[in-house]
Amino acid sequence: MPKLRGHAWAIAVLLAAFALAPSFYGNHSVLFSMAAFVALAEGLNVLYGFTGYLPFGYVGFFGTGAYGASLAILAGTPPLLALLVGAAASVVLAALLTPLLRLSGAYFSIASLATAEAMRLIVSNPALTPLTKGPYGLNLQAAFHPHQSYWAMLVILALTLALVSYLRLSPFGLALQAVREDPVSAAMAGVPVVYARSAAWLLSAAVAGSVGGAFAWHLSVFYPQTVFSLSTSIFAIVFTLFGGAATLLGPATGAVLLYALYTAVGLSAPQYFQLIYGLLIVGLVLFLPYGLTSLLQRRGIHVP
């Protein structure tokens, strides 16, 4: 139970920081994006950290959630309910894509990337303009409400952190890690391998979908390439790797530190960040493959 207390504290501190920050720091959209990236990194962690599947196309769920929620809002659904629609849209997409889990390693990653690109091309196809507004993007200004969408984002973040905590502390989380290490032995330990993996996959998609929905609501005007941008996947992956996958604090720490750095140096030249993050990935793989938290874990310290 001391572990549970550690997790509860960690979550409480993080949420309190995000709840209080708007009173001290004026740029709320930066705070919103940071919270969104913490949640996205944790959502990626649900899949990558606990099952070993690295979805390069994670942004596909983010974008699908954004479009699902926005189209629902445009159809007159109250925004909070629309976020659920966004999450549901992503879960449906993930369910359709469960056969991808038959692929392993690099094959899965590339296939997932391909599906995200395909989603972007489908959504932005001029032929679908009546449905998705094609390349022209969506405009939700009638529902624009930065305050509410910020709080909605924090609720999503809280649920996501609770989910990762659950995986970190529960037998189900252990079973997922067993499957990650060796699916055959895991099956022989009685773990329903396919079911366990699929559950992690759907949960991870639900996180990205609801974050995408909240993001679209907060932004209120966006284009297909805004919400299906590969760099969103890259950010989530870098944050997770940097902090340390399969922990609660790793991805969150990675997201907060690196996103703060990203904002501090300035958004004017995104290429510098692409360069830094690219090199950071290379460096991490070569020198710190298990992230910051592994520095503590190696000394026998339990990291929530």
Binding site: L174, D182, S185, A186, A187, M188, A189, G190
Partner: protein, 239 residues
Amino acid sequence: MCPEPLLEVRALSKSFGGLQALGGVNLSLAEGEILGLVGPNGSGKTTLINAVSGLLRPDKGEIRFGGRSLLGLHPHQRVHLGISRTFQSPKPFAGLSTLQNLEVAWRFGSGRRGPPPQEVLAALGLEKLARRDAASLNSAQQKKLDLARALATGPKLLLVDELGAGLNAAELSEMADFLGALAVQGVALLVVEHLLGFLDRLTKRLIVLNAGREIFEGDLQAAAQDPQVVAVFLGEGGA
């Protein structure tokens, strides 16, 4: 009158491409019984275990357990029915502690009805390693952990694939006593082993496989007299 055996394998066949790994194997095993399975390398012993545990689908034949057919059941469902196995080269769950390895098997394999993880660890002399990362165990310890994982699922039938390889004489004798005690508690054991002395301590009932076919059934002494068995093993030594 005779009660139905716990495990019944009939006319089991499996080919990989052109290679027949199993060519119509029959065997049956009752509760608390130990059956030794020997044969040269590549004779199909592991393939038989894979078929019973559900890791591969046989081409033909039937496997019945406790009176029901196992056809179409997933590996984990067979574990839930009480079939467990060890691996020739075990792969423990790295990143999880030894104890957590067993917790997974205990909760998911037996629904917490099997022997508690701490007890299994103690029974196999692994209790000092409970908190160690399973990946850091040496190979003899990994073999024991693999057996412990199988036991934590609370099996009625345990399929043991070359547990002896890599254990020293003292460990072997300990292991033989341990498996014998399991059988006394009613667990049925199918033991694949190259070390005949080890098998001899466990059971009088042996099946010899060669190229996927059963060529002998009986006790070790009789097997040593059987010209076909002798030819197969001498042939292997000479090859």
